[in-house]
């Protein structure tokens, strides 16, 4: 995972609620087995509308996306996060996020910042009026600020996610430091829990 300390740049105002991951990354691109290159497919269907916000060249390369409540709902597809990442998005700011999406972002290294509705609305209308307007996110101090103004807000972040984000720590590597705990737990697991090893040999073939 990449480390993120600060994010600085303009923001794409995606002023819609309940944006689901089917919209962020439509199904036809889930057939790919690669991990990269999803950026061009993000919002594929919505982008067919020339007035859709990501088609506005003023927002090209923006590292921040502004969205409305429940962003990333629906399917667990991490491809949605990979698409945003590949578009160059490092942080999404919204009043609320869907659980699985938010979790996926924390694994990939994409900041999800929850701010109160009125603050998101302020940033949204500002980004609509001033497409080049700069926003700075500082992870260590947990602040979002608007360049050239005194506007600044504190955001909450899970301390562990913060630690991982600032240091770009690999989640699996961290867990494997506790491999002994896992082994110990396995020794005491009830034997009557099912296992799938039989699934190799009890095959039921058609024809």
């Amino acid at each position: 995972m990449r480390a993120i300390k600060t994010v600085n740049g303009n923001a794409i105002p995606l002023n819609r609620a309940d944006v689901d991951t089917d919209q962020i990354m439509p199904k036809q691109f889930l057939k790919r087995i690669e991990r990269s290159g999803y950026g061009p497919f993000a919002f594929f269907d919505w982008k067919k509308d020339p007035s859709f916000v990501t088609n506005n060249p003023a927002y090209a390369g923006a590292p921040i996306m502004l969205a409305q409540q429940n962003f990333g709902c629906g399917s667990s597809r991490e491809h949605a996060v990979w698409g945003l990442e590949d578009m160059g998005i490092t942080a999404v700011i919204a009043p609320s996020f869907a659980d699985i999406f938010r979790n996926n972002c924390s694994k990939v290294g994409l900041l999800t910042i929850e701010l109160p509705q009125e603050d998101v609305d302020y940033l949204m209308s500002r980004a609509e009026e001033l497409p080049g307007g700069n926003i700075t996110i500082d992870v260590a101090s947990q602040t979002v600020s608007v360049s050239g103004t005194a506007w600044s807000r504190h955001f909450d972040i899970d301390p562990f996610v913060k630690h991982r984000t600032l240091n770009g720590l690999d989640d699996i590597g961290l867990t494997l430091q506790h491999a002994d705990d896992i082994s110990k737990f396995e020794e005491s697991r009830p034997a009557l829990k099912p296992d799938t090893s039989r699934a190799f040999t009890d095959s039921l073939k058609i024809g």
Binding site: I172, L176, D181
Partner: protein, 466 residues
């Protein structure tokens, strides 16, 4: 201190807990499919890691398989490549795979319960948001992303914050013709698409108890559409009865021990939930969604709602967008909405009881000439059972297509899709824009309602329809 079933299962799986960090949770069963796993296996390769517990892992192919004759070459080269990748990964990492020519192949959330692998008190994960289905057995089951799939493959654990708990109680009785699907659509309508965010739900109450195991799976399946990652029903006699004799259920002395452990999985008297929701069974009618989120549903007896009546400005805007996309006018009676396609299947309603219910409606009748209707069994065993009961013949005689098992038009990754502008009655779980095909319009309903709509060419109230 009295505890909820959710807290009990959680505590039984905590490997490590440390202040300021999420808990490390042990995973009893990891289900894997072709679409969300390739990059996870690739990650293992790149870091030289193994699958820690292939014996607690099971792979199948479902999302991206053709539902037409499988002895023919796969019509889609990308799909073929993804299936081949799954095979290679299963082989390289010694993970068991139920492939398309295995009789047990099917939608991942159908095959695991069917084989008795899904059992009470387990933690179950899968790279698919409808993993909540397994909660019907009193298991803590939730969807994860591909990074987490890799994490579970490598460590058999997940790092998780303890969730908030929500009690959703459905009291009383359901009227004739009202199904588990209608119950869950009513619940989502009440709590909203994000009402359950951060929570795990326990479904309780007389109505939930009265549902069969398959009905409970339908309810738990759609938990994620209300924003909660997991939802469960405490095990009871029905759960135990369902599991008895299944291939992967315990036997002999182990069975007795297991039953004893399962019976202890109840929410203690006096335990507190963070959030409470209550619905009356008598007030639930067959539901039809009219918009592009699963919460946008109304009883069959009503009309497409007016955006002005929405509870908030944001909801009004969403409703307006939805109506444009769905090409519907506010005030149109639901029964007057005509459809072009019908899809009966998916992990929500692709089990044998669903097919029986739809067949009972279709028996001796004909699909309207303006409608193309399709039945896709959720798994190989569901298909075999349906054929043994002659259900396929009822469907074929009525003019429905009868397909091979898979996800099919639920998400339209394979050629089973809606064409732009087509309108469908679907028993699946998502009516998002373009979900079943770019420009396609989806109305979510129960299998009975879908079958009746296929015959009439428009929605009808199954309670009054003869």
């Amino acid at each position: 201190m009295p505890k909820t079933i959710i807290e009990k299962i959680w505590e039984q799986h905590v490997v490590r807990t440390h202040p300021g960090e999420p808990d490390l949770l042990y995973i009893d069963l990891h289900l894997v499919h072709e679409v969300t796993s390739p990059q996870a296996f690739e990650g293992l390769r790149l870091t030289n890691r193994k699958v820690r517990r292939p014996d607690l892992t099971l792979a199948t192919v479902d999302h991206n398989v053709p539902t037409t004759d499988r002895s023919l070459p796969n019509p889609d080269p990308l799909s073929a490549q993804q299936l081949e990748t799954m095979r290679q990964n299963a082989k390289d990492f010694a993970v068991p795979l139920w492939d398309i020519f295995d009789l047990r192949q099917g939608i991942v959330h159908i095959i695991s319960p069917e084989q008795g692998l899904t059992q009470p008190g387990m933690t179950i994960v899968c790279g698919d948001s409808h993993t909540s289905t397994h909660g019907a057995f009193g298991a803590l089951a939730f969807g994860i992303g591909t990074s987490e799939v890799e994490h579970v493959l490598a460590t058999q654990t997940l790092t998780q914050m303890a969730p908030k708990t929500m009690s959703v109680e459905v009291t009383g009785k359901l009227a004739e013709g009202v199904t588990a699907k209608d119950v869950v659509l009513a619940i989502i309508n009440k709590i909203g698409v994000d009402g359950g965010v951060g929570h795990v739900i326990e479904y309780r109450g007389e109505v939930i108890r009265s549902l069969s195991m398959e009905g409970r799976m339908t309810v738990c399946n759609m938990t994620i559409e209300g924003g909660a990652r997991a939802g469960l029903v405490a095990p009871d006699e029905k759960t135990i009865e369902y599991l008895k004799g299944r291939p992967y259920a315990p036997t002999g002395e182990e069975w007795d021990k297991a039953v004893e452990a399962w019976n202890a999985l109840v929410t203690d008297e006096g335990a507190k939930f963070d959030t409470y929701v209550e619905l009356k069974g008598e007030e639930i009618a067959p539901h039809v969604t009219w918009g592009t989120t699963p919460a946008q549903s109304v009883p069959i007896t009503s009309s497409v709602p007016k955006p002005e009546d929405a509870v908030s400005a944001a909801a009004k805007e969403t409703a307006e967008r939805s109506l444009v996309y769905m090409d519907l006018k506010a005030g149109t009676p639901i029964e007057e909405i005509s459809i072009d396609r019908v899809f009966i299947g998916s992990c929500t309603n692709g089990r044998i009881e669903d097919l029986r219910a739809a067949a009972a409606v279709a028996k001796g009748r004909k699909v309207a000439s303006t409608v193309r209707a399709m039945v896709v069994p959720g798994s190989g065993p569901v298909k075999m059972q349906a054929e043994a009961e002659g259900l396929h013949q009822i469907f074929l005689d009525a003019g429905f297509e009868w397909r091979e098992p898979g996800c099919s038009m639920c998400l339209g990754m394979n050629p089973d899709i809606l064409l732009p502008g087509e309108r469908a009655a679907s028993t699946s779980n998502r009516n998002f824009e373009g979900r079943q095909g770019v420009g396609g319009r989806t109305h979510l309903v129960s299998p009975e309602m879908a079958a009746a709509a296929a015959i009439e060419g428009h929605f009808v109230d199954i309670r009054r329809w003869k």
